[in-house]
Every structure is written in C-alpha cells, then in structure tokens.
C-alpha cells in the first residue's frame, strides 16, 4: 500500500517537475478571421494571424517608420525609385519602382517573383474579385514587371504615401492564378486560402498555417523556406475566445500563454488582472490609434453653435474620467491626431475642465439657467442633447454616465439612448439618424488623412450609397482645401504645417469632442521576449521571428 501511495505521489508530482520545452506558444485573441485570403475583407484578427504567415512588401514598424519587408529599399524621389510624370490623360502622376529582396520563396519552395505581384494586381483591378477598398487599384493604372524582382507601378495621382504598398502583397500566382482566371466572380469562394489553407505554397512568412479549427483555433508551424532569421518557436497556436472573462480564465488555467493586445482584454480588465496576479504575467499598455470621441450633429440646433460645442468639452473632466474609470491608462486626446504620430501638434488648443468657462459660453450662446437646473433658450427650449453609444459596451456606458453627470453640472441635459453596434453603425450613424452626440471610436493608420470623416463631400447621403464618415455634417471650406492638399504634398515640413492647421481648425470647430486614445493591453508570460506592440494597424506578429524565450 505504501509503495502504491508513493507511486501515486510521484505521478502527481511529475507534471510539476517537468520543465516546459517552451518551443511552442499559445496566444488568445477575441476574434476569428472570417477568411484567410490576404486581400479580401479587412479585419484585425486576420492581419494578426497572417502577420505570422505572410509578409507584405512594405509595413510600418513599431517605431511608426515605413520599412521594407519584402523589398530592398523604400522608393523616394531622392533615390530615384519614384519619379513624377504625367499620366496619358495629362494629369500629374507618379512612377514608382520596388525591387524584391533576393531569395524570397513561398512555403513550397517556389520563388516569389513579380509574376505573383502581377497576379495580385490583375485580381485587384478586376472589380468582381471582391476586394474591399479598391482605391489603390483604381489609382495604379499600370503594372510593369521589369524583371523577376523589379516592378513598377504608375499612379494617376501624386500622394505622399507612394512608398507604401499597404495591402498590396503578393499572392502565389502558381497556385491561385488559374483558379481566379476560371471565374473571377466566384474566386473568393474557391480560393485555396479558404479551401486548403494548409497548402504551404500560400505562405511566405516565418510560419505557415498547419491546422485550422474553424472558429476556434489556427496552428502555425515554422516555414522551412523562410529566408529570414529562424524563429524560436516551432509551433504557435492562436485560439479564439470571444468572451473576455473566459479568455482570462483560459490564461489563468494555463491554456493560453499570452493574450494579444491587438485583440485582447479591455484596459480595465487587464488592469484588474495585473493587480490580482502580481508578477505571474507581464502586462504592457501601449497607446494605439483607436480614437474615442463623440461625433456631434453640428448641422442642427443646439449643436450647430460652436460655443455650445466648446462648452460641452470644457464641461468634461476627461483626466478624471481616465483616472477613475481606466486607472490612467488612456491618453487624453486634444484632436484626432495621435500624439505618437509625427504630425501631432503639441500646441493645439486645449479644453481643460472649466465649468465656469463652459457656463459663460452657454450664457453667451443664449442658454440661461432654467428651472430644474437645465438651461433654456429665449424660446423656452431645454438644452437637452441625445447621447448615444454602443449598447453592451460596459466601459463606454460607464463613460456615458459620467459625461451625463458632468454636463448636468453646467445645466445641460444628456438623454442616453444606446443601440446595438449593428443598428448604431449600420443605420443610425451611417444614415445620420442621430440628433445629438454619439460616442464611438475610429481606427486609423499612421498619418492617415481624415478625408472621409471631415471633408464636406463625405457627408453620407442616399445619392452616394450612404458612404463617407462625415457623420457630424461638418462643412468647412478651409478644411476641405487642406484635406485635398495634404495627400499630394510630398514635402514633409510643408505637410507638417498643413497638419497643424488641420488640427487647429478641428480644435476650434469641434465637429467631434475628442476624448482619449485607447491603449491596447498586452498580457505576456514573463519568459516571452521580443514582442514589440506597434499601436497601429500593422500587428506585432509581422516581426514574430524576433520573439524568443528568456
């Protein structure tokens, strides 16, 4: 009996004594990619997963600099790889050349050549392929493959972003071209990326997709044909757990090693987890490009009066909201340009919490204190604003209540009316069926020109298929001119001046009330090294070969 007891004891102790090999990593995220095709649909989960398995030609690095991943040099006017020219129809255009690095191969050993980029270009130019935003393909009117590694694109407009190829990443022509040519319209339902995602020839990153458990997990293994530094991890599994308490439980139970900040826990949950677990995990909060703000319906009273909009912002104590609700883990915003982005203007007008100034502005605008502590105008109308956000988003709902109380303190009534995200974004915002303020967030790219949210031609209407994100109805001729001038200004310093003016108008006119830039909460095991969150749309996984173990 004693021997049996001893054996049992040893068996129980064994797992605890065994040291984990740590050549595999399990990552938890909260979204599953709807497709693995790189060029169809845009979603954060897909960029995160594909960051391990495929590489675009160019990307923004964690320091927000544009770098080459598959190319040799970023084209500039100075190095001669970009040249101004005139398009066949007489417009100013650009001719830009990239050279692919030597030795690049797909996961099945086939070399990556300009034929792959030619196929990507052909598929993108054909509107029936199903690629989402196609502005790039409309603008790039000619693709020239000069040799197997050197290719040139001719653009019918001049933009400062010409060096970035963005989503234009090679597709494997040797596997996909024939399928696409068979019938472009149904290509998206027959692509190997979704019908046979474990085909190694689809991938060109340090890892390739080895197993797909639809809706639940994707397993990646080292790509033997990767030409860069060999990654430390032999296998990486990405598990989708949409419910964040369940994701946290899986982390605590040891089923996932880390939670990706790009698609992980909300800041307040990560903060509480870090407090509870001490040094068991390493939590890093990294500011990102998610801009929480309140769009105001500024073409209707009372928000058509700039003084009222300014008063509403003066009435808010955003520092206190961030401190109390998010333990200081958000960066208070003063305009829509992120402080981490180089065009940010430190000297832009700010609106400190100043209830007296807010009251004075409201008085000046004709809103005097009335019965019940709510201001009224000369016609006896109450200063009452509908305040909407996405129902079910706890942090936004909590924020909304604080805003309601702070506005109330200066005599402004906020009527809360929340809607599910589908209704709010699909109907109320996009068809401009709101009357007051809507609290939500934007995600943008480094130096992303906010044309769709600020240009007067981007106000959604039925005539333009309800596209455009200028939900407030902001019309400002100088802003329109700036938004048109910015993309075509190639000189960085002159562009900086334009950006500063844009921010000054934004801060003065307040088409939206800036709240804060959200931070991503990255939760890692203490032994994991080399992960560098970017804070922008190019995920940290694009540099996964640098991840290692302490």
């Amino acid at each position: 009996m004693a021997v049996r007891f001893l054996i049992c004891l040893l068996l129980l102790a064994l797992p605890a004594q065994a040291q984990p090999a740590r050549d595999s990593l399990t990552i938890g995220i909260t979204q599953y990619p709807s497709t693995l095709h790189p060029n169809i649909e845009n979603m954060v989960a897909k960029s995160y997963v594909l960051g391990f398995a495929r590489r675009p030609v160019t990307a923004y690095d964690p320091d927000w600099r544009l770098i080459c991943l598959l190319c040799e040099t970023i084209p500039t006017l100075e190095n001669g790889l970009a040249q101004r020219e005139t398009t066949p129809d007489g417009r100013p255009g650009l001719r830009v050349t990239w050279v692919l690095r030597e030795g690049l191969r797909w996961g099945d050993g086939t070399p990556i050549t300009t034929a792959d980029l030619r196929f990507t270009y052909d598929a993108g130019r054909d509107g029936t392929t199903g690629i989402g935003p196609a502005e790039f393909y409309r603008s790039a009117y000619e693709f020239i493959a000069e040799d197997e590694r050197r290719f040139t694109l001719r653009f019918d407009r001049v933009t400062f972003e010409f060096g970035s190829l963005g989503d234009f990443a090679p597709l494997p022509a040797h596997l996909e071209r024939a399928r696409w040519e068979q019938e472009p319209r149904t290509y998206r339902t027959r692509t190997l990326y979704d019908t046979e995602p474990t085909n190694p020839g689809l991938w060109n990153g340090p890892f390739r997709v080895a197993q797909v458990q639809a809706g639940a997990a994707i397993t990646l293994e080292r790509n033997p044909h990767w030409s860069g530094p060999e990654p430390h991890f032999r296998r990486i599994t990405i598990r989708t757990v949409e419910n964040t308490p369940a994701l946290e439980a899986q982390l605590l139970a040891g089923q996932v090693d880390m939670i990706a900040g790009e698609l992980g826990l909300p800041v307040e949950q990560a903060t509480a987890l870090a407090r509870r677990t001490g040094t068991r995990f390493r939590t890093e909060f990294r500011p990102g490009l998610i801009y929480e703000h309140m769009d105001l319906r500024m073409d209707q009273p009372p928000l058509d009066d700039r003084r009222v909009r300014q008063a509403l912002l003066h009435a808010l104590d955003r520092e206190q909201i961030v401190a109390r609700l998010f333990e200081g883990r958000q960066t208070v915003a003063h305009t829509s340009v992120n402080p981490l982005d180089w065009p940010h203007d430190e000297n832009v007008r700010r609106y400190p919490h100043d209830p007296a100034r807010a009251a004075a502005l409201l008085e000046e605008a004709g809103w005097t204190m009335g019965p019940g502590g709510i201001r009224r105008n000369a016609a006896g109308e109450r200063l009452s604003i509908e305040l909407m956000t996405t129902a079910g988003n706890r942090s936004r709902e909590a924020t909304q209540q604080v805003i309601q109380a702070q506005w109330r303190a200066v005599g402004v009534e906020a009527r809360i009316r929340n809607e599910p995200p589908r209704v709010l974004f699909g109907e109320t915002l996009s068809r401009r069926r709101f009357t007051g303020a809507v609290l939500f967030a934007w995600v943008s790219a480094p130096e992303g020109v906010p044309r769709t949210s600020l240009h007067s031609t981007e106000i959604p209407t039925a005539e333009r298929n309800w596209s455009g994100q200028n939900y407030p109805g902001f019309r400002n001729a100088e802003m329109d001119a700036l938004l048109e001038a910015l993309p075509i200004e190639l000189d960085r310093e002159r562009r900086r001046a334009l950006w500063h003016r844009l921010q000054a108008i934004y801060a003065e006119e307040l088409p939206a009330l800036p709240l804060w830039f959200r931070q991503d909460a990255h939760v890692w095991p203490p032994w994991l090294t080399g992960v560098r969150p970017t804070g922008h749309l190019n995920p940290s996984t694009l540099w996964a070969e640098q991840w290692g173990v302490r």
């Binding site: 709807s34 497709t35 693995l36 095709h37 169809i40 649909e41 845009n42 979603m43 509107g127 029936t128 199903g130 989402g132 935003p133 196609a134 502005e135 409309r138 319209r185 998206r188 339902t189 692509t191 979704d194 458990q213 639809a214 809706g215 639940a216 997990a217 598990r239 989708t240 757990v241 949409e242 419910n243 308490p245 369940a246 994701l247 439980a249 899986q250 605590l252 139970a253 040891g254 089923q255 589908r422 209704v423 974004f425 699909g426 109907e427 109320t428 915002l429 996009s430 934007w442 943008s444 992303g448 769709t452 949210s453 333009r464 298929n465 309800w466 596209s467 455009g468 994100q469």
Partner: protein, 305 residues
Amino acid sequence: MTRLILSRLAQIAVMTVILSLCAFLLIGLMPGDPIEMAIAGDPRLTSEDAARLRALHGLDQPLMARYLAWAGAVLEGNFGHSRLFAQPVAQLLWPALLSSLELLALAIGIAILVGVGLGALAAARPRLAPFVQGVALVAQATPSFWLGILLIILFAVQLGWLPAGGADSGWRFLVLPVATLAFANLAAYARHSTTALRAALEDPHIRTARAKGASEARVLARHALPNAAVPLLTIAALDAGAMVSGALITETVFARPGMGKLIYDAVMGSDFNLALLALLLVAVVTMLATLAADLAQRWLDPRIA
C-alpha cells in the same frame, strides 16, 4: 397512423417554406446591411466600392428576388457559401452541429436522468419533496453564464483539474459545459416528473400492484414511470430542437464553436445562406421531434389517439 404521419409531414413541409420566407425577410429587414457595416469599419471604402460590393453580393436586388434566387438554388441542392466564414454553408454547419449535439445530448441526457431521479425521490418520499423543489428552484434560477464562470474558476483556475474551455476533443473539455447545461435543464424534468409521478402513484393500478406485493421501487419504475413519461416526452421533444440550436451562452463562455454561436453570428452578420440553413435545420428537427413525441405518446397511452 400512416395517414397521421403523412399529414404531419406535409404540414412540416409547408411550415418550412413559410419559416424560410419569414426568416429571410426578417434578417433582410434588420437595420444595416453587411456593406454598411464594412463601411463603418473601414474608412477607405468609397461609395464606388460600396456599390460594387453590393452588386457582387447581390445586395442591390429586391429582397423578394433574393429570396426566390436562394430558394431556387436550395431546390437544386446548392445551399450556397457563407459570406462571413468564406466556406460552403453545409461544410460549416456540420462540425458545429456535431459539437452542439455532443454537448447538448450529454447535458440533456444527464438532466433527464438526474431530474427524473429527483422527481421519483420527491414522489416516493414526500418528506424529501421540499429538498427536490429547492434544488429545482436553484437550478432554474441560476444563470448559465454565472454557473459556467464559477465552475471555471473552481475547477480550471483554482484546482487545475479541468480545462477552462476550448473546442479540443476529449471528455475533459466536455465536463464543465455539460455540467453547466445539465444543471440548468434538470429543473424542468424534476418538477414535471414529480407532478406526473405523484398523479400516477394515485392511480388504481398502482394500488393493485402494491396489493400484489410489488416492491416500491418496482411500482415506481415499472408501473408509475411509463404513465408519467407522457408529459416528459413533450419536454424532451422540445429539447431535441434545442440540441441542434446549440447553447449560445454556454458555448460562448466555454469557447466552443457550436450551433448557438454560429446562428447568432450569421443572423447578426446578415449571412443569409448560413442563417437560413441553420434556422431551418433547427425548425425541421424540432417539428420532427414533436412528431416523434406525439407518436411515442400514442404508443405509451393509446387513449390519446
């Protein structure tokens, strides 16, 4: 009997067509089409892109024309492609269905065993009835998501005995979700079996069985339970529909990709092909199970016919 079955099958066919039309129209009338959602999430989508994508996905057609096109394709055996998951619908439905069936069949099986056991206990030992009623009340009042999280904290996080969730195969991954669902479901079986068994135990033939010297266990199992099974069959038939419709909350808490989550995502994402096939599958299974329950009731109690 054959006439009854044929008539009910005809009713099911008609009902399926009506349901498909209703479901299609309801999903189609929900605010915001998928392209509008995409525009909200991607500022780079222009009005030109929106028009092109709407045409590509057939969203520029009137709702009724889209329904007729879908119905025609289904009659040819083509269930279409899921727009949300980029997979053929049938291929997507099958693993989710198996996952939900595995989870819910076990949970409902356990709920029936434990629930009817508790009901039998309450009927045979009236002094234990308050205890059984208490258990049933707690089971009914406990929200599944809360119980699920509690079980995860206890058995996965604190004790480390079982996984916190996941879709991997193996009994260990089933224990906590099955326990959560079984607990929630046992209340109905316990309550109904208590009432039905109490009534059955009052019947004259039970007195006869007891007079003949049958043990109390035999009286309960062989004589009272078959008579009490009629109402339980109705609940079981409704639960059969639940088995294929999945358990959204439990599947979400335990990160199991089953039918509940699939249907929710498909409806919210306006994935017509997927949502319709899944909803119709649930409806048809529920109607067939109800028919099976009716037939079983007639077999158990010929007076019903």
